[in-house]
Amino acid sequence: MGELRELYQSIILDHNRAPRNYGALPDANGHADGRNPLCGDEVTVWVKMDGERIADVRFVGGGCAISKASASLMTIAVKGKTATEVGTLADHFQAVVTGQVAAPAHTDPTLGRLATLSGVSQFPIRVKCATLAWHALRAAINSAPGTSAPGTSAPGTSAPLGAPPGQ
């Protein structure tokens, strides 16, 4: 039960039950869908970019606790950050949940509460659940006029038709 408790910490269960920044963002200027066809997880992320900076971000999605909590925690973590900062944070987060960066992630200052998802690294088949919203976020930022988040969007994420190509 130890690794499970590590995976399903109370913060994650709380964000699963009551996700933050949940719902459409009417004045968004970028959005993207993320889909995991294997398990049916789906997420849509909206961003309102103010120049390079994320003025607001919201999401909607049905899926497992990991994907929902990850999206919820992500929205809190990235609000107010620049696209470049988000790119760096996303890379770091990815490295932690895939176990490429060894925890003591819990005291990792750059991750903050996102570190509660580090337990995912013990469950390789669940990594995609934790990173789905992040891929959608990058695609959403790329879809906003004039902005792009460094890094790559995974297959399965799609920007709306007509969006400027990301890098």
Partner: protein, 403 residues
């Protein structure tokens, strides 16, 4: 009685609770031995070599076909075409029969239960040919709504494609009734037997159907082998599905004539090792007896559905045990199936979570994903106990409820 001792993987992992046989079955030693024996004594390219070893391989292949045909009650073994499995078999029919027989304005009928393998090929055929694609809906307990079927099937219906057993709900469909509705309008009946072949006696000669597709890997055979059983009169009018070696009679510079059944539909070097394994799997199931397989799984299913349904917050989908194969699909309030599968996996309980390649069905059920436990000959009550205990501990973890 459980036959766990016959399955080396389960013997080596005594604490494993394998409840995902609807996805694929574990392999009995008798199958693994038969495949090994074939490769060690009789392996060469069949049909081609002018030497005794190739003759032996050819014999093994033919013998495997006869034995598998017998398992399905098929007297004319040449009407059994070996394929990679159900998916390839259904695509074969939709392509080789469908493209020549479906015209604009025709109708293709499937049911809401179908696996994507018996849904997408027909949907795409309909789109390509300008035909209508109609879906027969279900009753609230997940059975084919025969009244709706009778309304949907018309004189324009050219094919009715239906699962014998649903992989997502376990529903056993009433093939005789469905076939008689289709027959009345002269429509072809194509049956997806992926989930019936391993779990109940199937006697194709007594079913009034035109095609029956199945996968060996769900029956205890290796992956990559399965079959399509078809009516001879229809198979003979059909053009080949793939072209190449073995399926030809005479290749001229300008034209080619086709080999006889079943070779016309088996282009390229066949999967002889797979066929040998499939015959051994069929023999293994016959030695237990398909009636006994069904009885064993039905008993486990009845216990599992009853015990799961009695847990507050757990919802079981699909019909009662009499109309259900060994598949139990369920959801738990507040716990996504994916999380449930991870939690159960920590106790060695393997279940499937997701849409089970049946998105049209899950959309209709109004759930994004279900958890699915499925049984085979190696399961017993202790597996059900572990499943039920795992669901309770997941609830405790998520809701802090008393386990």
């Amino acid at each position: 009685m459980s036959h766990r001792a016959d399955f080396p993987l389960l013997v080596r992992q005594p604490t494993l609770r394998y409840l995902d046989s609807a996805a694929t079955a574990q392999k009995p030693a008798i199958v693994l031995d038969a495949v090994r024996e074939f490769y060690e004594t009789s392996y060469a390219n069949p049909h081609r070599g002018a030497y005794a070893l190739s003759g032996r391989a050819t014999e093994c292949y033919h013998d495997a076909r006869s034995r598998v045909a017998r398992f399905f009650g098929l007297r004319d073994a040449a009407c059994l075409i070996f394929t990679r499995g159900t998916t390839e078999s259904l695509n074969l029919v939709a392509t080789a029969w469908g493209t020549h027989n479906i015209q604009r304005g025709d109708e293709i009928v499937v049911t809401r239960l179908e696996h994507h393998a018996n849904f997408v090929p027909w949907q795409q055929l309909a789109l390509a040919r300008g035909a209508a694609f109609r879906i027969v809906e279900l009753t609230p307990d997940g059975q084919v709504d025969l009244d709706h079927l009778r309304r949907v099937v018309t004189s324009r219906t050219k094919v009715v494609a239906v699962a014998h057993v649903s992989n997502a709900l376990g529903t056993i469909t009433p093939l005789a009734e469905i076939a008689s509705v289709a027959r009345a309008v002269g429509a072809l009946v194509v049956v997806d037997g992926a989930q019936s072949a391993p779990h109940m006696a199937v006697d194709v000669d007594t079913l009034d159907i035109d095609f029956y597709a199945f996968s060996g890997h769900k029956m205890g055979a290796p992956t990559g082998i399965g079959g399509l059983i078809g009516r001879r009169a229809i198979l003979e009018t059909m053009s080949p599905y793939q072209m190449g070696g073995d399926m030809i009679e005479l290749v001229g510079d300008d034209r080619t004539s086709w080999n006889v059944l079943p070779h016309k539909f088996e282009a390229g070097t066949p999967n002889v090792g797979g066929a040998v394994g499939l015959a051994a799997a069929a023999g293994y199931l016959t030695s237990i007896g398909m009636a006994e397989v069904r009885r064993h799984e039905q008993a486990l299913t009845a216990v599992a559905t009853e015990r799961l349904a009695s847990i507050p917050g757990v919802h079981v989908y699909g019909p009662d045990a009499a109309h259900r194969s060994g598949v139990v699909s369920f959801t738990v309030d507040g716990i996504h199936a994916h999380d449930l599968a991870t939690i159960l996996d920590q106790d060695g309980v393997c279940i499937r979570a997701g849409h089970h390649c049946a998105q049209p069905l899950l959309r209709r059920l109004g759930v994004g994903a279900t958890a699915r436990a499925s049984f085979f000959v190696y399961n017993d009550r202790t597996d059900v106990d572990a499943l039920v205990a795992g669901v309770r501990s997941a609830q405790a973890l998520f809701h802090g409820a008393a386990a």
